[in-house]
């Protein structure tokens, strides 16, 4: 195995362009899990991003929050403005693993790791975040809601790095994030959902119920149109249109679907006149 240690973004992009097989290494909280046992991973080559200082900071622009390609959960937890303006980022961040994970794990790593259970992704998606990809070929921007196309499939070519994640600053009157794991803290999500409402409309994003984290357009339609919902079961047809949960070692398809419906129903009951 080998690792390359670029000291600037330009150098990192050039190195990656020269060898797109390099695996970017950020906080390592996905890549190093069970590392000693995964001897096959020791045979690969890595591009260490930790020395690329310009990727770490995040900044507040007039109309957006821009996360860097190395910004961690903890960086955001420490930022009081995020608590006030984009509280779902905080809700999700503090439920990612434990503090030891939050101090290392990056938002960009969460996106590129592309786990269906990722918790950073649904809240970013519910805030209409945009992924900024850079390579020596140039820079492109992809809305996060259109970033994935299948299980671990995404619109990122091997020579691109996620250098920024742009989160619009809007006024929200509904912001909900629910995470259900096998325990209360440090758990992989069995079913989760982020819901927002702003001038841009409703956003409902579910995780762990499909091959990738995705918006739920049928449920959003019910909310936009004010369709009557008399109980959580009324949401099931829409949920079945939107997502395809499975049985795995952590839970069952039936549970995931039902609990998603119940969370949505109970959490929105007081917010939506059409829910009764």
């Amino acid at each position: 195995m080998s690792v390359l240690l670029p000291a600037s973004l330009a150098e990192a992009l050039e190195t990656l362009a020269a060898d797109p097989d390099l695996v970017p290494m950020a906080g390592g909280t996905d890549l190093l899990v069970h590392w000693p046992q995964h001897t096959e991973l020791h045979e690969r080559s890595y591009l260490d991003l930790s020395g690329v200082e310009e990727l770490r900071p995040h900044r507040w622009e007039t109309d957006e929050l821009v996360l860097g390609g190395l910004t961690t959960y903890w960086d955001i937890i420490e930022d009081q403005r995020a608590w006030n303006e984009l509280p779902l980022l905080i809700d999700a961040a503090r439920q990612v693993g434990s503090i030891q994970i939050q101090t290392r794990g990056s938002w960009a790593g969460n996106i590129v790791n592309a786990s269906p259970a990722a918790d950073g992704v649904p809240v970013l998606m519910a805030y209409d975040a945009v992924v900024v990809l850079e390579s020596t070929r140039g820079r492109s921007e992809v809305p996060l809601s259109g970033f994935y196309s299948g299980y671990k499939e995404m619109r990122r070519s091997p020579d691109e790095l996620v250098t920024e994640i742009r989160v619009p600053r809007r006024a929200y009157d509904v912001q909900i994030f629910e995470k259900v794991g096998q325990r209360r803290a440090q758990a992989i999500t069995k079913v989760g959902v982020a819901v927002t409402r702003s001038d841009a409309g409703w956003r409902v994003v579910a995780n762990s119920v499909a091959p990738f984290v995705c918006r739920c357009p049928a449920v959003e339609r019910i909310l936009e149109q004010g369709t009557e919902v008399r109980g959580s079961d009324d949401l099931l047809p829409a949920i079945r249109e939107d997502v395809t949960p499975i049985d795995d070692i952590r839970s069952t398809a039936e549970y995931r679907e039902k609990v998603l419906a119940r969370l949505l129903y109970h959490d929105l009951l007081d917010l939506c006149p059409s829910f009764g």
């Binding site: 046992q37 001897t39 020791h42 992989i188 079961d233 070692i249 839970s251």
Partner: protein, 731 residues
């Protein structure tokens, strides 16, 4: 007294086996079976590594009998051509580089001609699945008291129930690990273990060595809970075989996943109850059947089954009791010792069943327990007369008072219908646990212990009991210093080293403080006798006497000795399971308050109160820690911990997927002790290690039943199971 080794643990200075400085050694690794059952037809060594660099051991390298001996010789150290469970050890490898050893594991392929595995312990096996005796029954036991059939026939009300519990993995934080090397002709084994002499017992026949040629030393042990009772013998044997073949030190440390999938676990169980009661709730007959999954080898299963059936009727008096116990062979990883040793399974069933009976009778579950709770002069299922003077009702009442049981119950009745999706409930369990080995077990162990007076007057306790976090070193120091009138700093506890310390029996079964602790006291007395000073004399005099003895006997050792003597009047009929099963019982009650979220079917424990009689409390902080830790393991066994199986293999062998609680998942566990001293235990102590775990699961599930109005019968009660139970509930 503060935990003696506390500071060295808190500062990271304590050295566990993997922390010992070591040079020029090999890392061991274990090649395991991919299949649950079958003949090994081939072993293929891939070309990804240079095999000439490796030491490889298979069953033909075993000098003696190919078995990890404890109760029987049934479990091979390395599969001799046929495997009986997934992850059964087949080959051992060693290499100076751990990375290379791990790579090599990926390069070996064990090919198995698969035979159909027996995987369900609840059903009797078809002919093609039989692999043990005539019907795969590893052990059958029975207890009979009165005439159950007649009494059931005459009972106005008969309540039935079937209760199931799953496997539980110990998850001691330090994984299994051993170091083996040759010191001249002596094979030295150092590692994480509860019972150094069990390791000696297993190594002797397998390695054809005498006790003098095997030296076993326990290193500081990062948790055991029963998981380091019998299993370390296997790890030690493997490390020893590699060291003997390579003539180099070998370190064998399990990865977490290997530890989770390949080592013993708590026996899964199915318990049936048929109970006759009258309208007032008085028990007329208890018919109980306990079935356990033993796994592929015997380990300690017969003893676990024994403890389960002895406790299966609960702490109630009933004239007619029939208990049948059966442990089944299956092609799964062998189940073994785990804190509570069968009793948690037994009590989950009986204490859940008491609530089911109360529900049927429309009776307060506490009242039902009160009516039937055994009183002094009454007998247990084995006919043991209880006469220890313990006020069991006081224990229950104290737990109810501390938890504010009545008021909370009323609050829940008001609150539950008002809340859209949260339901609260409160539940209790009353339970007991026999301390020490069952029946004549302690006599058979014939435990011995020495207390040595040194020339400088200081004293050392020599015993094979081990510290694994439960506080043995501190307790023994306390006992010796109290007995001799010494400053604790002048007492040391010898490292458990089988070449230095006598066999004081295994560190299991809640016996250490009570039974072995008593030996500490008696050996201290013997030391005084030999030093020629009165027993109970002030410490300064004892010390003087020891120093004087040494000046009179230069070069000699001054050893106070004690050997186990059974308390008078204990009679046990092993043949018929009649008599005094234990010298003493610990008694306790738990109360749990839970909140069920009907959106997610998640159960959260809001409050937990435990009131325990463990005899005299020797050290409040340590005792409380034992209770809280035991309760925590019981709560998570009830709600979280589930081994997911696929074709006999545990699929979720990672801490990410096998869920034990974090600090955020547990409530504060409130503990109170009610002390009824036991005259034959050290300073009046009874066992404490296992008792708290025993009643936690039924208390939690009884609370869930109170919250939801449904009767769960299976643990772990995961949200998925609760959803099924509540199916077609509210919206």
């Amino acid at each position: 007294m503060l935990r003696r080794e506390g500071l060295s643990k808190l500062t990271g200075r304590e050295r566990y086996v993997d922390d010992l400085p070591l040079e020029d050694f090999l890392w061991g690794a274990t090649v395991r079976s991919p299949a649950a059952r079958g003949r090994i037809s081939d072993i293929i060594f891939g070309d990804g590594v240079d095999w000439s660099e490796f030491v490889i051991v298979d069953h033909t390298d075993i000098p003696g009998r190919n078995a990890v001996y404890l109760m029987e010789y049934d479990q091979p150290a390395l599969a001799p051509g046929y495997v009986r469970h997934v992850h059964e050890p087949v080959l051992l490898l060693a290499h100076p580089s751990r990375e290379m050893a791990r790579r090599a594991l990926r390069e070996v392929q064990v090919i198995v001609d698969v035979d159909p595995p027996a995987l369900d312990f609840r059903t009797l096996p078809g002919p093609d699945l039989i692999q043990y005796g005539e019907n795969n029954v590893l052990k059958r036991l029975s207890i009979q008291k009165g005439d159950v059939e007649r009494a059931l026939g005459e009972s106005p009300i008969v309540v039935e129930g079937v209760y199931e519990t799953g496997a539980q993995e110990h998850v001691y934080l330090e994984t299994q690990g051993m170091l083996a090397y040759l010191d001249g002709e002596v094979l030295v084994i150092k590692g994480s273990m509860q019972c150094p002499y069990y390791v000696v017992k297993a190594l002797k026949p397998a390695l054809n060595r005498s006790e003098e040629e095997i030296q076993v030393i326990q290193t500081p042990t990062g948790g055991g809970f029963g998981g380091k009772e019998e299993f370390p013998s296997m790890v030690a044997l493997h490390a020893g075989l590699l060291a003997l073949k390579s003539r180099m030190p070998v370190k064998l440390i399990y990865d977490r996943t290997e530890d989770m999938v390949a080592t013993t676990k708590r026996h899964p169980s199915q318990v049936r109850h048929r109970t006759g009661v009258d309208e007032n709730g008085r028990l007329i007959a208890q018919e109980i059947e306990v079935v356990m999954d033993g796994g592929a080898y015997l380990t300690l299963t017969p003893v676990v089954l024994s403890r389960a059936i002895i406790h299966a009727a609960g702490l109630y008096h009933c004239d007619n009791v029939s208990i049948l116990g059966r442990a089944m062979f299956t092609n799964s990883v062998p189940y073994g010792a785990f804190r509570g040793f069968g009793n948690p399974q037994a009590h989950f069933a009986v204490e859940r069943h008491m609530d089911v009976i109360a529900d049927r009778l429309r009776m307060d579950p506490v009242e039902l327990r009160r009516i039937n709770m055994i009183r002094d002069g009454q007998t247990t299922a084995t006919g043991q007369v209880i006469s220890d003077g313990v006020d069991r009702l006081q224990i229950v009442d104290r737990a109810l008072a501390l938890s504010d049981y009545e008021r909370r119950r009323r609050e829940h009745w008001v609150r539950n219908p008002e809340h859209r999706y949260l339901r609260r409930g409160i539940g209790m369990a009353a339970f007991y646990h026999g301390a020490g080995f069952t029946g004549s077990g302690e006599v058979m162990l014939d435990s011995r212990l020495h207390v040595e007076g040194n020339p400088d007057g200081k004293v050392q306790v020599l015993c094979a009991s081990t510290e694994m976090g439960q506080g043995q070193v501190t307790i023994f120091t306390q006992l010796a210093s109290d007995r001799l009138g010494y400053d604790p700093a002048e007492i040391s506890i010898a490292e458990p080293d089988t070449h230095r310390v006598p066999d004081s029996g295994p560190t299991v079964g809640s016996r250490t403080a009570m039974v072995v602790g008593r030996l500490v006291e008696r050996a201290c007395d013997d030391l005084c006798r030999k030093a020629g000073v009165e027993i109970g004399a002030p410490g300064a005099l004892v010390k003087e006497a020891i120093i004087a003895w040494h000046s009179a006997h230069p070069g000699e050792r001054l050893l106070g000795k004690a050997r186990y003597e059974p308390p008078p009047g204990i009679e046990w009929d092993e043949e018929n399971y009649v008599g005094d099963a234990y010298g003493a019982f610990g008694w306790a009650a738990h109360v749990a308050e839970v909140e069920v979220d009907l959106r997610t079917y998640d159960v959260r424990v809001l409050d937990f109160v435990s009131v325990q009689d463990v005899g005299t409390v020797l050290n409040e902080t340590l005792a409380r820690g034992q209770v809280q830790g035991g309760v925590a393991q019981g709560i998570s066994w009830a709600l979280l911990e589930e081994c997911v199986w696929k074709d006999g293999a545990m699929e979720n062998g990672q801490l990410t997927n096998y869920i034990i609680p974090t600090s955020g998942d547990l409530p504060p566990i409130r503990v109170e002790f009610v002390e009824f001293p036991y005259e034959h235990g050290a300073q009046g102590a009874k066992g404490i290690g296992e008792l708290p775990l025993v009643g936690a699961a039924p208390a939690v599930l009884n609370a869930v039943a109170a919250a939801t109005g449904r009767q769960p019968t299976e643990i772990p009660l995961t949200p998925e199971r609760l959803m099924a139970l509540l199916a077609n509930g509210d919206r």
